[in-house]
Subunit: 169 residues, 2 copies
Amino acid sequence: MDPSDPGRPESARVAGAVTRLREAGERVTTARYAVLRVVDAADRADEHLSAEQIGARVADLEPAVHRATVYRTLTSLVDTGVLSHVHLGGSATVYHLTEPATLEEYEGGYRREHQHEHAHVQCHECGRVFDVPAEVFDEARATLREQLGFELDTGHAALLGTCRDCHPT
Amino acid sequence: MDPSDPGRPESARVAGAVTRLREAGERVTTARYAVLRVVDAADRADEHLSAEQIGARVADLEPAVHRATVYRTLTSLVDTGVLSHVHLGGSATVYHLTEPATLEEYEGGYRREHQHEHAHVQCHECGRVFDVPAEVFDEARATLREQLGFELDTGHAALLGTCRDCHPT
DNA sequence: ATCGTTGCAAAGCATTTGCATGCCT
DNA sequence: AGGCATGCAAATGCTTTGCAACGAT
């Protein structure tokens, strides 16, 4: 596996993820590299892909990579911290590239929307997922902490609701 | 199926649910009655059961009821509005008896905790689910409505976080 | 008597696992 | 070279479905 293979266009985000993988002592394999590229492309298109959907796209990119490997890869990449996953209401789990703590490490190219922690809200009518600033839940977070001692983690699961387009009114 | 069978202790909540079922033109069968009793008992114990767990308890109560029927029953009871379900982060879905609009219709016996809409927060360490007043999310709800036109439905999916007992600190 | 509901069993689908081989470091 | 990751295929677990029989109204 040689991700520096000339001719293979690579985003700064994928390059950063590969670097972090290596630093963590993890091997960079064909399967892992393909998964990273698929998730990066989805992130850039504001898409939220499930394990299964990622598997399908990886199959296009690298037909030799087995489905089971995609699942194992997703698990290990999440463990390593290179990817993070968000649980959607419907029971699906979607994956994101995790943003590094210091953006400066990786030269430009980050889209503004990806620079901050965000929560996810999903429309249970059309299924679309919207990213919203985590600060929206600051007050709720504070209340839960004070009254229950519960630390709300809005990055880890989506909240359901109805989007503007699907309103009955 | 005769839920008025003397000697079968029945809570006011189950009685109300049965009434609402009949009013909706739905048949009250052994399977449906058993599911209602199981869910009611869980509610009263502040437990949150998944379809699978409900199936197991129904099997104790009515061994003749098939697992597949429990799934179909849960679906139809939710459709009718007698039950409501909440998606937990881990991918499980748990069920509740839906509270009727007017409490007065059903003579006493409602526990205070069940009289109001509530949201669910789940600890991703220990898995326990806590009920919290829906008002905790009022500000977030208002912000999302104003800025995105998104109607947040906190009753339909649990938020993840870490409970007091599982804090690293 | 009618027609919705159920039991049964089999199919379906996403995900996981054991094991030998392969390949990244 | 050495050990982790992979391919393969079978198993798993939850949920759904087709169909005939059953039973609530």
